[in-house]
């Protein structure tokens, strides 16, 4: 009977509203109870969390694990280790692997591989269309039965509105959300960074904010038409945030996530032509960053997700326009969120915890993100004041593409507990 008590931490559990110094008692992989001075017998392992924050395990609903197909960039195992080192207990890999996760056999492969090799929970996201080609619907029902918790053609948005409508209708029938990477591919074609003063100065082709906006607008109208649960991935533009808020005010089941880097960086913060700053959506202008931050504050944005996107150095060490999009982000998410949101007093610590726990759990319908008695014992322990410096060369990820290498953070992950087991400790 494995038993663990996390002693004396500040327990913040948004699912119950608890925010107090307490012990968390775990037994046999589930939460046995939360309270003051919980009794424990002599065989009970203890973790002293004095001065730390103890919360339900963090969920990253948007990562890329690159397996199957691109194991040179990341594997389910290495990605899960990076997740644990970032304080995450559950991650949701997007389907753009090779083969694409567009059928139950691929889903099952990922689930099985994760069961054997991953040190955190892995909930795959399936493709919307076959091969994510945007034409024919993928095997959504059987993928759901095999374990996908949502569908998305992340990175290759469904351009055909009719196909998107059918996907929403179908997904609604299976009770899973449709997640869209919102980008009108005609408007963004050839673009390498946000379209604005910086792209003009650097002579790089731009991705206008409008390429995101028109897609969000279309999808919200389709969500209203179909009654689907619809989620905007990595929201980054001012108008997109406004439209999500509008959709919520109309009572639609529309949610959104923001990435830490879209909260932390503008297009002007980029080291010129450094591909560690190249991702989609691109780092946007100050007004957009402020609007995304405001969206987090007001609740228009429901979750923080990293869009952890590993690429090997050989792909990122090229002419800027040739480099692939994406940066890794699992290990810096807590540090950045504290820095951007909590330390400046924009949101409370409890609100931040919500964005990583009940927020994504509710969107995906997961039985996690809570310290309720009997729930799976996923626990994240982090500090809000311990200073540490990110060294990307020590990352658990197989890739090194982060703009935050060498950055010093105030506060970050301390220990990660998955199903009652300590899988990572600082």
């Amino acid at each position: 009977m494995a038993s663990l008590v996390i002693r004396n931490g500040r327990v913040i559990d948004p699912s119950s509203g608890r925010d107090a110094i307490a012990d968390v008692w775990i037994e046999d992989g589930v939460i046995r109870g939360v309270g003051a001075n919980l009794a424990a017998n002599s065989t009970t392992e203890t973790f002293d969390a004095t001065g730390m924050i103890v919360t339900p395990g963090f969920i990253d609903m948007h990562v890329h694990l690159r397996e199957p197909g691109f194991e040179y960039a990341e594997t389910i195992e290495s990605g899960s280790r990076a997740a644990a080192a970032g304080g995450f207990t559950s991650i949701c890999p997007m389907p753009n692997t090779s083969p694409i996760n567009d059928r139950a056999t691929v889903t099952s492969y990922i689930v099985e591989k994760a069961r054997r090799n991953a040190i955190v929970n892995v909930y795959p996201i399936g493709a919307i269309t076959k091969d994510s080609a945007g034409e024919e619907l993928a095997a959504i029902g059987s993928m759901k039965e095999a374990g996908v918790v949502a569908i998305s053609d992340d990175g290759r948005p469904v351009m055909n509105a009719r196909v998107m409508r059918r996907a929403m209708e179908f997904a609604r029938g299976f009770g899973i959300p449709v997640i869209n990477h919102c980008e009108d591919l005609h408007l963004s074609a050839g673009g390498d960074m946000h379209e604005g003063a910086e792209s003009v100065r650097l002579g790089l082709r731009g991705i206008p904010g409008a390429s995101e906006d028109v897609m969000v607008a279309r999808d919200i109208l389709l969500a209203e038409l179909t009654g689907a649960r619809y989620h905007v991935a990595h929201i980054s533009s001012r108008h997109a945030v406004e439209m999500v808020a509008f959709a919520k005010s109309r009572g639609l089941d529309v949610t959104a996530e923001a990435t830490p880097h879209h909260l932390a960086l503008t297009d002007g913060d980029m080291t010129p032509y450094d591909s560690n700053y190249k991702m989609k959506p691109p780092l946007r202008a100050r007004g957009d960053v402020n609007a995304v931050t405001e969206g987090v504050i007001t609740g228009a944005i429901d979750a923080i997700a990293t869009d952890h996107a590993p690429h090997p150095g050989s792909e990122k060490m090229q002419e800027f326009e040739k480099c692939p999009f994406g940066i890794i982000g699992l290990e810096t998410a807590i540090g950045l969120s504290l820095e951007q949101l909590v330390h400046p007093g924009k949101i409370t610590l409890a609100h931040m915890v919500r964005l990583f726990t009940t927020g994504p759990a509710k969107i995906l319908g997961l039985d996690r993100g809570t310290l309720a008695q009997g729930a799976p014992a996923d626990v994240t322990i982090f500090s809000t004041d311990r200073e540490w410096t990110y060294d990307v060369n020590k990352s658990a990820s197989k890739s090194r593409n982060s703009p935050f290498d060498g950055k010093t953070f105030k506060g970050g992950p301390v220990a990660t507990i998955v199903n009652g087991r300590i899988v990572w400790q600082a």
């Binding site: 003063a197 792209s199 100065r201 650097l202 002579g203 010129p272 032509y273 450094d274 800027f320 326009e321």
Partner: protein
Amino acid sequence: MPSREQPRGLLGIENLTRDQIQALLDRARDFQPAPGQSFPRFDLLRGRMVVNLFYEASTRTRTSFEIAERRLGAEAVSITAQASSVSKGESLVDTLNTLAAMRPDAIVMRHSASGAPHFLQRYLDTPIVNAGDGTHEHPTQALLDARTILDRGAKLEGLRVAIIGDIAHSRVARSNVYLLSKFGADIVLCGPASLLPQELAQLAPGVTLTTDMTEAIRDADVIMMLRVQLERQHEAAFPASEYFQFYGLRLEHLRLARPEVIVMHPGPINRGREISSEVADSQRSAILNQVENGVSIRMAVLEQVLGEGKK
């Protein structure tokens, strides 16, 4: 993180000071040939080795650099993309590291990707001279343009310069804007709206935008026409058939400008597309002076970058 210290080469005009630019412009005069003579030989860079690496087709810029290198006594090797290992799939970084291992004293580089030399300079100790990167900068072009304007007796301060054409995709325009602005010129950028993003006005102080060519040319001291770079347009941003009608420079336009107006073009010119033959061959045209100054400016730049010249 890569180091961000100031590289020793010449990557662009944007980060140069007015004094640094003035020094190059002044020094270039020493290298100008006497009327009717060829460029004088100097042995300032004897024993130095320069590699000219051209990933994009170029006749005049490459030749101009080669002549400048030889007139300074340096040895020059020129490599073009078609003949190099690029066509065998080698990455840019690997190619540059290979070349750097042969210990040239400088690499002159043209590349179709914006920022390619800036990216490389972060990893390479060999100084890089940017001979044009994508749609970003073309610093020696702006320097030779300024030298040409000064040679015609004009002062840069208070000068009204109209730059006309596909501004969005022009590295010549960007470098000229940075240079002219540092000297207090008034710069009017003009072209079809789809090739004239509003953010261009924020490039530097003293920049205004217009889509009306007559407005751009009115009272201009200098008219710089840009080559219509159809190869840089990834879509039909402007109907090609209408270009000359609305943005081609013809003799009648010159009447709107100052009487002593100078017409410039970075070449190669498309007669009948952005400039009429009559204008290109007129007294007001300084196009061949620009070509000539290309050599003397590049001599000044190479001398400065290779660091052995006497100022």
